[in-house]
Symmetry: C2
Subunit: 467 residues, 2 copies
Amino acid sequence: MELRQKIFDFLKDPIYQPEHYLSIADFRALTRERFARFAAAHFFTITDYVDNPRRFLAALECLAWADYSLAILSGVHYTLCGGTITKLGSAAQVAAHVPAMDVGRLRGCFGMTELGHGSDVAGIRTRASYDAATREFVLTTPDDDASKYWIGGAAGTAHICAVFAQLEVAGREEGVHVFLVPLRDEAGRPHPGVRTADCGAKMGLNGVDNGQIWLDDVRVPREAMLSRLATVSPEGRYSSALPDRGARFGATVGGLTMGRVLIAGAAVTASAIGLTVAINYAHARPQFGDTLIGDYLTHQRRLYPALAATYALHFALDRVKALLAAPPTPARAKAIHVASSGLKAAASWARIRCLQDCRECCGGQGFAAANRIGPLLNDMNVDATFEGDNTVLMQQGAAAELALGGVLTRAGAESLRGLVNDLCRRLGEDRGAAARTLCAGFGCPDHLMWAPIARDWTTAFKYPGKA
Amino acid sequence: MELRQKIFDFLKDPIYQPEHYLSIADFRALTRERFARFAAAHFFTITDYVDNPRRFLAALECLAWADYSLAILSGVHYTLCGGTITKLGSAAQVAAHVPAMDVGRLRGCFGMTELGHGSDVAGIRTRASYDAATREFVLTTPDDDASKYWIGGAAGTAHICAVFAQLEVAGREEGVHVFLVPLRDEAGRPHPGVRTADCGAKMGLNGVDNGQIWLDDVRVPREAMLSRLATVSPEGRYSSALPDRGARFGATVGGLTMGRVLIAGAAVTASAIGLTVAINYAHARPQFGDTLIGDYLTHQRRLYPALAATYALHFALDRVKALLAAPPTPARAKAIHVASSGLKAAASWARIRCLQDCRECCGGQGFAAANRIGPLLNDMNVDATFEGDNTVLMQQGAAAELALGGVLTRAGAESLRGLVNDLCRRLGEDRGAAARTLCAGFGCPDHLMWAPIARDWTTAFKYPGKA
């Protein structure tokens, strides 16, 4: 809580004020500068990913309130790259990279997706062959289909990349492992054998420079393979603490879990911002005489269910965070995986519907960039398919729930019932006041109470209506 | 058909190629230049609005294929401003403005919406008082709430504005009438008494400079009031061919009908572009081995119903265009009003769902600006609330349909049944081939056959997959 307050105070620096007028080149430069200042302030350390996940999540969640490009560039650096090093790297590998990454001196990206392989991570085709003679791994992109694609920060920002590749040792395939590969030096000069290209303009999130990476027989030392789960000896002998290939693959790609929790959290944040704007506007804007638009049933039927859903998702997410903070057990790990995947999909789809309703309920004001709903719709649209396609995640989640006999669903429904009843009662008493109070933080231990920040940054409330 | 081909050939000029990297200032300048060149080519005349509405619609519909900012800036100029002059102006007023507007030498905008009055047009508060001594109207914005707001082109582009204001003659209120008010001269210098402001950045459509207008006792000659339906004599005597106030108001704001047909048409166009990209991608992109993503049921269930809906909306829209082209009768006018309002809402909401599904079905490629789906989602989001809020339009349409006993719905269902049966049969035979054929133009007399243009302008098809 104190950390959040510190970060929100920090984000009051004018450089973090919304900026909607820039060219893509200028917006990327601004985003990198915003990231640099945030990192330099060093509010947390990447090893919190393992040691204090609540702290790690709290710090990064704050960024989505300011700008989603900043949140994603930071998420790729801290969570996907840094978190993977922390979780899959040896103590020496963590010590070698985390201090410089913590303050943004070393910037990382995350090379999992390939042009030809999005959902099918096990099918990636980047190769890493061990050369015992030189004690190096040789990383190769066999063709364009296997080039790394959509890699956030790869076009220009990142110095290193956590590259997922098929390991081959002494002629034997050992499956997907992670290698730290230098992309460019501090001056931006490419590392020998590394080629990158720019993925170009997007429908949003244009502060992030997504890029494509080809590795042309790039040689990295033996120490570049993250070695907590598996090692290759200098002579070229492979060994792993997880001899089961399926379990090893699951642990290797497990770094997405925290990212999914952050995406779900950002979806709740964005819904809270949108609802705060839309509900306050609804209770300030008259139309057809003195009737406030919030008094029309059509308006209420769009905004209040979305408000309830946002609270429900917030509390569901809080359960997942509690699981993350508890001592790890295999059953807990399974529950975390299923719940974070399902919640990422549920929250991001709910967020799309919610913000679209908020946008329409504000009329032209919802389309104006200054009121933030529209830019959030643009920037966050990516969340339905990145770090796991929602359709695929929902199928995984449903299959796992069926296998578990519906345990998670029942527990979730139980804990939400009291909340929903209370919400309904309050809405029945004095709708306008209750809705405003809800937005301002009722019943919510931390997240939605930051709504006043959204208020500071919008112009919808400056509408000079009668109310 | 020939006109469309001419315009599509014209739009191959590189200046009309998609541009996603610019600052807002530069994109506005580009949009104005695109508009200037299109207008100078003089493909049609504004009086086609009345004399040849199919021609008028065909010409303007082409622009949505190129860029929606261009389509909207042009739509405001030709349809809302020019069409209103053509429909509500005297022959002399048409002759005085249309030739210069036709070629873009005189640029117009449309001052209906006020900050405090969106859906409630009858409640606008801009005043126009007749001063018999000088034979002028005096136009006044009483307060900020009554300033004209979201006026496309008002921040810098337009020279004149068709201002909707409450007419007062000799102390008597005569209701809403339209006045042609100069905003700025050719050099951009504001007309005395006119103040404008910029509505700022938006979530899309940033090539259009939406603005706010205040009129501080602006004096315009008696000839500035559009006088086909009502006139004020030099001495200050009001008379109208439509003495019934309700009928007069309906005729005065009726200029939105053509705009709604164009919005519905653009929604069909955008859905066609999105589906062309997504369906072709689905049948070219393998994932998890050789299975094409288009072979997954989850994929088919999202794209094919949207394809069917797009065809259905296309044919429904064609019915409305046939009504518009037929000799006007009161019953036809009523049907056109109801159908164009309902279709605008139905088509734009269907378009939002359709493009969102297309975007997700293309994964990251759907988020890339080059593949057009994302920018269309951003630019067109406005269509759910402009020229009539969808929720309000749907209620109007439903009420009218109930009053008519469901005539329109039954006729529409009848004419669609054969089409849907045929679609289903073809999809059952060879899904991939049929879907591609459908996109390329099956059964559709004109609209969807322009899909090859969308193809030329996307990179999704350049995906180097196996198929």
